[in-house]
Every structure is written in structure tokens, then in C-alpha cells.
Amino acid sequence: MNSAAPSLPSSSQNVVAAPSDDKRWRIVGATMRRYGFAPSALIETLHTVQNSFGYLDTQSLRFVARSLKVPLSKAYGVATFYGIFRLKPHGEHTCVICTGTACHIKGAAKLLATIDRCANIRDAETTKDNKLSLVTARCFGACGIAPAAIVDGQVIGNLSPETMEELVRRCLKS
């Protein structure tokens, strides 16, 4: 077990240089600074990287691992342990289908089958033209309006296969 306290400030002289002059690295740097570059800031930092760049690649994992002084293997282990992190970019649009209990009972499988039929993709896949990515999640707390999905950040409830088809076609076109 790690015995260091969370706020233990590490010396800021040896801050690791960002991989490029992309401005988004500054946001990542700000998160790490907020936590005093403590190793325990790993998950928070990876969240920031993913929110800024859309996914985690080897370069960003290396940068975060070196900055927070954790082994790369640990950064990789954390990135692959948690379901939210992805190592590949998503397409232009993202559709998250809930496969939690309430949505399962109310027909989430039919929504998945609809997407497979219309866009020919399954869980964690992206269409060939890079328009749409499909992911599944286990409940995002919208069970009162099951079956639910999140399309490009927007929660949509009480979905029928027909509405789903319309949503998918719209994503594929735009």
C-alpha cells in the first residue's frame, strides 16, 4: 500500500515536457498540477486526457506515467481496467446503449439489433466510414425512462426500435 499522503507536493522542477505544443496538453498539465503531481492523480488525469483528446494513446499514457512518476505498466493497467477509458478513437458520432437491468427488461437487445442491422456495428465497433461508434454501458441512472441511450452526450429515453433507427440514420448521414 502506498503510504504517501495525497497532497504530498513533488518537486516541480522536473516537470516532463508535453509531447507536442497542442494546447490541450495544458489542460492535462493543469489537472496534474492541481493534485501536486501525486501518483494518486492517475485516474483523474486520464479522465482529462480522454475528455480533451477523445481517447488514450501510447504517447499520452507515457507522458502521464512519466509526469506522475508511476510505471508505464501501472498507467496501462489502470487504463485497461476501467471500462470508461478507451485506447482507440471513436467515430464522429457515439451512441451508448444501456444494457442495465431496467433497459434489459424493456428491450435493450432490440435496440442493439436495430443498430447492427442499420449500421452493421456491434458493441465497441465503429462504422467503416468512421461515422458512428457503438458502445454499451451498464446503467446511467435513467432507468425511469428505460430503455435509454446516450447519443453524442444527450440522454434519450423510452426508445423504440423505430426511433433508434431514425437516430442511427441521422448520424450516418450527417
Partner: protein
């Protein structure tokens, strides 16, 4: 909002009960100057039905008519009947409008003069509203969750300031113990006992953690509470900090709840600004800080030791207990972990006394419990009832029963470690012990209703698949056992299983239950065990007749060995 005069002098810091009173009076004055207040729910379900647009168009409608001075349009909290989102409440009068569209703004504002808009009106005399007891969801929806003054106007922070200025830490713990409050995260461990263990531990540093990981699929009570009452959760944590001698708290919340994260972060900043978090609270020696930590989509991180590993920045792997977090938790220091709803109950307990709380509920299960009612039931949404209420009352009176003339089959409680309770036990009271004796579990409060369109073998397979995917892989019984059980259940649903397979499934249930490291594996067999206990005939129909009685694994009367297309 203007700050009261004498508060300005203290940089807006609120340091005693008089300050709270001043703010409450100011709020009352403001309220009395308004003829109408219109609350638009800004919870997850309502926002998904464009309630933000409804709020905008109502605000615009009021200002074009020049009525801002006497009519306030404000964001509000969850009304509970999420199935009818978006919801709008008009005060005074308490008319509840459902399914409001932005285009309805003019009618709603007209109605202030001409009387309620009948076509949008919800019947608030229905059992869904009258049969609930609101304690955790007190003032439901009628407090703006982003304004600390709104919270103070309804008695907020009296608990914390009373505790810090008038009670000793021991007295606080005594009140919590007397209240009989038990943990709302699932297992129902007595909260007072947990607090006194951490209080007794000797250490320079102690931590208070709020478990807002709410991983059970089909449960959203904690999300709703965090979205609507973020200040109350923080107040409960600060009271715990004072009682235990802890100075640092963490709220571990799942990243899947962006709105809850936003609200709690805003509330932390607001409480800090008013001196209700931070150094020298109420000008005493007591300091308490809170930070948010985000989960990242791992169910096992709801388990307390896994949650601690996650806050430390690592993979969420559970550890064997003892030592319990109360002795050695975060960074090896004594740590209190309670659920969101547990903390929410603390401020009213301190405000009204433990004995007041102990009057609600049953002998061993005190207080109320919120449940997320979903699945095949008419009124889906958030409900709160005293412990000891029967399942029948929740599902049939409050929930309105199963829609479309279907027949109730079972209710699933307790998440992936829980079980399915059949119709013959609907009159059982809901408390920790009786749910356990029925082969289920209180869990955090998900309640998913199933009717004759659900196949119970499919449901068991669903949960086993969940556990197999979410197993962290640290211990073998859970990692390998859940996969084997899922494979057998899969074979059953495709008509390829034999009675030997069923016997092996039962044997595996026993083995995984008693040899797994943490609650995930120990609870994983429960959905199988409970469906075997109450619905063995459905298993037999699949194995012997190759039929799925509910028509899920294949169409009704069709041989499941030739699976039909799901569409």
C-alpha cells in the same frame, strides 16, 4: 441574491445559527414578494426530455410579459414520476404538470390567472404521491439544488452548526447510534457503530468517504439525491468529520453521472465560500475539506476496499478484510465509508434528534428508504417509503401495477447480488432481514419489476454475465466460476443443457458464494439461487421441453434450439 449585511462583514462566512436564521428570513421575505414560483425539474430524466428548453421558454414568457418581479422561474429537483418527464411545479398551489413542451409556456403562464392547465395536470392525489414518506427527498423538487440559500431556507446546515457549536463528538455519535440508522449501501451495518469504531481509532489523520459509485444496474437513487440535495450530503459528511476527528473527505462518484458530478462540485465551492467547508468551520478548531474523485466504469469499485484502491489511483482491486477500512483504510489511515443516502439522513437526525428518527420504520430497520422503481411497472421513478412497507404497496399502490394487462411475475432487488421475489411474497415487509430471508438483499434500492414477458433464466443469465464481465479477476472462484456459470446458463437458454449441467450449476453457486474474496463473487450466485428457488419450472421447461415459457429465448411455443431472430 443579496447577502445579509452582517454576513458581508465576515466575507459571507456563516458561523452560527443566527446567521442561518438571517438567511432563512431573507429568503422568506423574497418568497413573500413573489406571487408565483415555477420549478422546472433539471434531473437526468427531465433534461433528457428537453426540460432546459422548457425552463428557457417559461423564463422568456414571464419576462416578455414583464412579470419577473412577481413570478420566479427556477430550476428544481426530481418529482419522482420520471416516466412523465419533463415535469413542472407551480407554487403556491402545487400544481404538477407533466410532459410539458417548450410550446406550453404561454398556457402555463396564462394559468396563473385563469386556473390550472387541465391537459397537462398530474393527479397529485394518486397513491404515487400520497403513500410516500419524504425524508431523504424532503421538499422534493422545490429547492434549487445550485443555491445554498435555498437549502438554508429549509433548515439546511442547522445540523452541522448545532453539532460543531453545541455538541461534543461523542454526543453526535450517540445521536446517530440512538437513531438506529443502518448503512444504505446494501449490507445495513449500524452507522453509529461504524462511526464509533473510526472515532476510537488513534491516528493523526482520518478520512471520510462518501460512496457514490452506485454501480447496481437499475438503481438511480444516489444519482437523484446528489443532483437534488448536494449540500445535504456535504453537511452529513462534515458532521461525520467532526464526530470522528477527520479533516479530509472524498466523494467517489461514478463518471457516468456528469450532472451529479457538476452539482456536487458546485456545492463544494458554495459551501467553502460560506465557510461551511474549509478551515475553522464556525470559527472553531474544526476544519474539513472535501474533494471529488471520479470513478471510471468499474462496478467492483463500489466495494469499499476496491474504492479505496481506486482513490489511491490504482486498479480497483478489493483486499481481504480485516483490517477493515475503519482501522486501516485510505493510505493506511482509519477511514469511514458510508453511502450517499446514509449521509443524507445525518443532518435531520442531528437537527431533530436520534429518537425522532427511531420512531420511523420497523424495530430493526429504522427510517425511510428510497427505491428506484423501474421495469414493467406503470409509474417508474423514484419513491421513498418507511422501512417495513410491503412490496405490494410499492409496486401496486405507488407503482400502479403492471401495465398493458400483463401479469406480475417477480421483482428484483439488491442488484447483481440480489434476487427475484415472486408474487407469493409480495406482502413481505421491506427491511434488511426479511429481504435476506427471501433470498434477496436490500442493496442500494433498485427495484425492477418483471412480468410474464420476462424469462427468469434469461434474467439469471443477464446478472451472471454482468458479474463475469465486472469480476476484477483477483480471486479465482469469482473470475473462473462466474464464467462457468454463465456458460451453463447460456446452454440452458439455447436448449443444449442437461440435468447434469443444472446440478453442476448448483454446485458452482455454493462454491463461488463461500470462497470468493469480496462481495461481488460472494453475491454473484444469488440471482441464480433465487430463480432456482422460485422458478425452477422455467429452468425445467428449457432443459426438458426445450421451450421458453415467456417467449424470450425463442418465440412462444417455439423450440429454443432453433433461435428466432430477436426482431
Amino acid at each position: 441574491m443579496q447577502t445579509p449585511q452582517h454576513l458581508d462583514a465576515k466575507n459571507g462566512r456563516i458561523v452560527n445559527l443566527d446567521d442561518l436564521k438571517t438567511i432563512a428570513e431573507q429568503e422568506a421575505l423574497l418568497k413573500s414578494q413573489l406571487k408565483h414560483r415555477i420549478f422546472v425539474c433539471m434531473g437526468t430524466a427531465c433534461q433528457s426530455c428537453q426540460s432546459a428548453d422548457v425552463l428557457d421558454s417559461l423564463t422568456r414568457e414571464v419576462s416578455t410579459r414583464g412579470g419577473q418581479a412577481e413570478c420566479l422561474v427556477t430550476p428544481g429537483g426530481c418529482q419522482g414520476n420520471c416516466a412523465e418527464a419533463p415535469l413542472v411545479v407551480v407554487e403556491p398551489g402545487g400544481q404538477l404538470y407533466r410532459g410539458v413542451a417548450p410550446g406550453d409556456a404561454a398556457s402555463v403562464i396564462d394559468s396563473l390567472k385563469t386556473g390550472p392547465v387541465k391537459r397537462l395536470l398530474c393527479d397529485t392525489t394518486a397513491p404515487f404521491f400520497t403513500e410516500q414518506t419524504r425524508l431523504v427527498t424532503e421538499y422534493r423538487g422545490l429547492v434549487n439544488p445550485e443555491r445554498i440559500e435555498d437549502y438554508i431556507a429549509v433548515g439546511g446546515y442547522i445540523g452541522l452548526l448545532t453539532a460543531v457549536t453545541e455538541l461534543t463528538p461523542d454526543e453526535v455519535i450517540q445521536q446517530v447510534t440512538r437513531s438506529g440508522l443502518r448503512g444504505r449501501g446494501g449490507a445495513g451495518y449500524p452507522t453509529g457503530l461504524k462511526w464509533s469504531t473510526v472515532a476510537k481509532a488513534v491516528s493523526e489523520q482520518k478520512y471520510v468517504i462518501c460512496n457514490a459509485d452506485e454501480g447496481d444496474p437499475g438503481a438511480f437513487m444516489n444519482r437523484s439525491v446528489l443532483e437534488d440535495y448536494p449540500f445535504r450530503v456535504l453537511e452529513g459528511m462534515a458532521i461525520a468529520g467532526y464526530a470522528l476527528g477527520a479533516t479530509q473527505g472524498y466523494v467517489y462518484v461514478r463518471a457516468e453521472y456528469p450532472l451529479a458530478v457538476k452539482r456536487i462540485e458546485k456545492a463544494i465551492a458554495g459551501a467553502q465560500r460560506h465557510g461551511l467547508l474549509g478551515n475553522n468551520i464556525a470559527n472553531t478548531q474544526f476544519s474539513f475539506h472535501v474533494e471529488v474523485r471520479l470513478g471510471a466504469g468499474a462496478f467492483v469499485c463500489g466495494e469499499e476496499t476496491a474504492l479505496i484502491s481506486s482513490i489511491e489511483g490504482g486498479r480497483g482491486l478489493p483486499c481481504p478484510r480485516p483490517p477493515y477500512p475503519a482501522e486501516s483504510g485510505l493510505w493506511g489511515h482509519p477511514t469511514l465509508i458510508n453511502n450517499v443516502e446514509t449521509y443524507t439522513n445525518i443532518a435531520p437526525i442531528i437537527r431533530n434528534g436520534g429518537d425522532w428518527f427511531a420512531k420511523i420504520g420497523t424495530e430493526k430497520s429504522k427510517g425511510t428508504k428510497t427505491f428506484a422503481l423501474s421495469g414493467r411497472v406503470k409509474n417508474t421513478g423514484l419513491v421513498e417509503v418507511p422501512l417495513g412497507t410491503t412490496l405490494r404497496k410499492i409496486i401496486f399502490d405507488i407503482g400502479g401495477g403492471v401495465p398493458e394487462g400483463h401479469k406480475f411475475k417477480a421483482v428484483q432487488t439488491g442488484g447483481p447480488a440480489g434476487g427475484c421475489i415472486p408474487a407469493e411474497h409480495l406482502d413481505a415487509p421491506i427491511d434488511y432481514e426479511s429481504l435476506q430471508s427471501l433470498g434477496s438483499f436490500m442493496g442500494s434500492g433498485g427495484m425492477i419489476v418483471m412480468d410474464d414477458t420476462s424469462c427468469m433464466v434469461d434474467v439469471a443469465k443477464f446478472f451472471m454475465d454482468f458479474c463475469a464481465t465486472e469480476s476484477c479477476g483477483k480471486c479465482i472462484p469469482c473470475r473462473v466460476g462466474t464464467v462457468h456459470m454463465r456458460d451453463i446458463l447460456n446452454k440452458i437458454t439455447t436448449g443444449e443443457a442437461s440435468l447434469e449441467d443444472l446440478a453442476q450449476l448448483e454446485e458452482l453457486c455454493d462454491m463461488v458464494k463461500y470462497t470468493s474474496l469480496c462481495g461481488l463473487g460472494q453475491g454473484a450466485p444469488n440471482p441464480v439461487l433465487s430463480t432456482l428457488r422460485y422458478f425452477k419450472d422455467e429452468y425445467m421447461a428449457h432443459i426438458i421441453d426445450h421451450l421458453c415459457p415467456a417467449g424470450v429465448c425463442a418465440g412462444k411455443g417455439q423450440d429454443i434450439r432453433r433461435p428466432a431472430c430477436v426482431l
